[in-house]
Assembly symmetry: C2
Homo-oligomer: 219 residues x 2
């Protein structure tokens, strides 16, 4: 009872390899075997080497596809559109962004590649900083009526990172640890935003009980 319809076009086969490899590596890590991968495709293992010179090249292709996925959603304009209230923009942005990255596949590949210390991971983190967090800070400062300086301070960026990381960690808890989480993701984002925005505002008005500027710039 063999498959009749074997042969696929070169492009289709290639993308099929990348897709199934993403699934396999997400579950097993990049140590997953090429034979297990071939089995998932219903083909034999040497066929892989007709489409990729080595397993490492396949892995690089997986990176590319996974890391570039979230960027195709066009969320970047959402943040800066000042015709709408900031809270609403942030809510919408984070719902869209987490829709893109909160999947078992994405998060696991992301963490596995992060543990390998790859350049593409550093690139992604840098992009999050520049395209997301810096903008959030800028908009928050604008909202709070603070003077606009060229770049956010390291301390402000850190605040945004902690906020962003908190949301990110929701995905890790749900899809990596498979721990019970608040099911309503939108509510989680909303509550986190309430805290963050209220806290940011309180601090901006100098109501800190420590004897220093609420958000101190690092010299």
């Amino acid at each position: 009872m063999k498959r009749k319809q074997r042969r696929l076009s070169a492009d289709d086969r290639r993308t099929e390899f990348v897709n199934k490899a993403t699934e396999l590596f997400a579950e097993e890590g990049f140590g997953g075997g090429t034979r297990a991968l071939a089995r998932k495709l219903g083909v034999t293992q040497p066929l892989l080497y007709r489409y990729f010179p080595s397993k490492d090249d396949l892995i690089k292709e997986v990176y590319r596809k996974v890391y570039l996925g979230p960027l195709e959603t066009g969320w970047d304009m959402l943040l800066s559109d000042r015709t709408r209230p900031l809270r609403q923009r942030l809510q919408e942005f984070y719902e869209a962004y987490t829709d893109a990255i909160f999947t078992r596949k994405w998060l696991r590949i992301y963490l596995y590649s992060g543990l390998k210390g790859l350049d593409i991971n550093r690139w992604y983190v840098g992009m999050v900083k520049d395209k997301i967090l810096s903008r959030i800070i800028r908009e928050c400062r604008h909202e709070a009526g603070l003077p606009m300086q060229g770049r956010p301070s390291a301390a402000e960026l850190e605040l945004a990172w902690v906020f962003h990381g908190g949301i990110f960690y929701y995905g890790v808890r749900k899809y990596i640890y498979e721990a019970p989480v608040l099911e309503d993701k939108a509510q989680m984002i909303g509550d986190a935003l309430d805290i963050f925005l209220a806290g940011f505002e309180c601090l901006s008005q100098g109501s800190s009980d420590r004897g220093q500027t609420p958000i101190k710039a690092v010299s």
Copy 2:
């Protein structure tokens, strides 16, 4: 030019295996080879099997040591001591807790084992929830003069998780991604606490602009 002083006592050799294995697995993941491990010890590979029945048993030992490490710091009483201001307690707790877990070794082993979906990881996450986050919520409610119910609601827990995860992610960024972070860890914790506490307080006083209870309990 061979080593003269080879032979170690059984106990010393065993702990040496576990220690070096922790280092190795932290860097390479649990796929790290037993031969590489032996090389780190300056012994031959079969010696491992005189102290551990299998590689898996060695790995279990590594888990035990790593996961139990942070618990030996006795931080758990810090949180509930109401003779001191809440903010100070939280600051001190998180500085101590992150001193214990913010190391390259700990974080990498934690993430690798989390990706394997192990029971010990679930146990640890549950412990964080019960021993840390639930207490924080309880103390925050007390501070805000809110009525004390038996257990924190799922939404409140989620709030604490997002806060906690944000701080945790600082360690991931620094030691896993090796990304530049705000160097002053204490300041990061302080700022995150300011935001969290201020936000929590604002919300508790019903100043949310959404038409609902600030922190809504999930039915």
